[in-house]
């Protein structure tokens, strides 16, 4: 896929992601933050919203599988080592729990309502990711 085609698909996919978040918020009154949804479904049993969270993820999983395998065959290859995946997963898990959100919650839902808190979070995690990539690829020269 050429880079420009990827941009168009990115824009269209983004419109779908934003529409999904809009449907969820206006329909159910909930913020479509994926880290919150994951936590409610798997680690926080104190609220009764776990059922909705689980359904959201099943639907996301199924539609992605369908689109990926039928409409536009997507093959992703994750080349990272087991250690890198474990470290990355743990860090992301602790980070989004403390930071109360990720790219969908702070990035999409928060920035679109001009939230100062979400702007601070988004700048921090985007900056953090850029620093991590710079250190890993260009300073250490590692291939994880």
């Amino acid at each position: 896929m050429s880079l420009e085609a990827a941009w168009v698909n990115g824009l269209l996919g983004g419109l779908l992601i934003g529409s999904a978040a809009a449907i969820y918020m206006l329909g159910n009154g909930r913020i479509a933050g994926m880290s919150g949804i994951l936590q409610k479904a798997f680690t926080d049993f104190s609220t009764d919203s776990g059922r909705h969270s689980a359904l959201f993820m099943v639907a996301a999983f199924c539609s992605a599988g369908t689109i990926g395998l039928w409409l536009m065959p997507v093959s992703i290859t994750v080349t990272h080592s087991v250690a890198a995946l474990l470290v990355s997963g743990l860090t992301v898990g602790v980070g989004v729990a403390w930071g109360n959100g990720c790219t969908s919650g702070h990035g999409v839902c928060g920035l679109s309502r001009l939230s100062v808190r979400s702007l601070a979070a988004t700048l921090t995690f985007m900056g953090g990711a850029a620093v991590a990539v710079f250190v890993i690829r260009h300073m250490l020269g590692w291939t994880l």
Partner: protein, 149 residues
């Protein structure tokens, strides 16, 4: 009705993640590699997602309850504290290692195989860990949760 809304929203979300290419860690890492072969796709995705959601917030101001009769989100918190910034920095660092974020991981499971599943398991463990291992500055009462005082 609420269930239907959840299912439709989840379907559209997953389709958007797949179409946008954001389930592909290589593309995500390309966005963060500003000193290498920079790939701006993620910016298009974020920009595209912002449009319907900004419209939704404008509509929300005219509504008292959600379409299914639930309470709507309260005004955004303005709190920027160490916990938010430490957590976000950690998330960013982890995102920069493998290029997988919580929004991408569920759709990516359907095409990414065992490495994505391994990441997902570690991420859930991290989330569970964060629930018991709170940052020390948090007041003890808040950390213990409601009803436990």
């Amino acid at each position: 009705m609420g269930t239907l809304v959840t299912l439709v929203s989840g379907l559209v979300f997953g389709a958007g993640m797949m179409l946008s290419g954001m389930v592909d860690p290589a593309r995500v890492l390309g966005f963060f590699d500003v000193a290498g072969a920079w790939d701006p796709t993620l910016a298009f995705v974020m920009g595209g997602a912002m449009v319907p959601m900004a419209a939704a917030w404008a509509v929300r101001r005219r509504m008292s309850l959600s379409l299914t009769g639930e309470t709507l989100p309260a005004p955004a918190s303005r709190l920027v504290d160490r916990r938010l910034l430490t957590g976000s920095a950690l998330f960013g660092a982890g995102w920069g290692i493998a290029g997988i974020c919580p929004g991408a991981v569920v759709p990516a499971l359907s095409v990414g195989g065992w490495p994505v599943a391994l990441f997902a398991a570690a991420m859930l463990a991290g989330m569970a860990l964060a629930r018991v291992w709170r940052q020390p500055e948090q007041p003890a009462i808040a950390a213990a949760g409601p009803g436990s005082v």
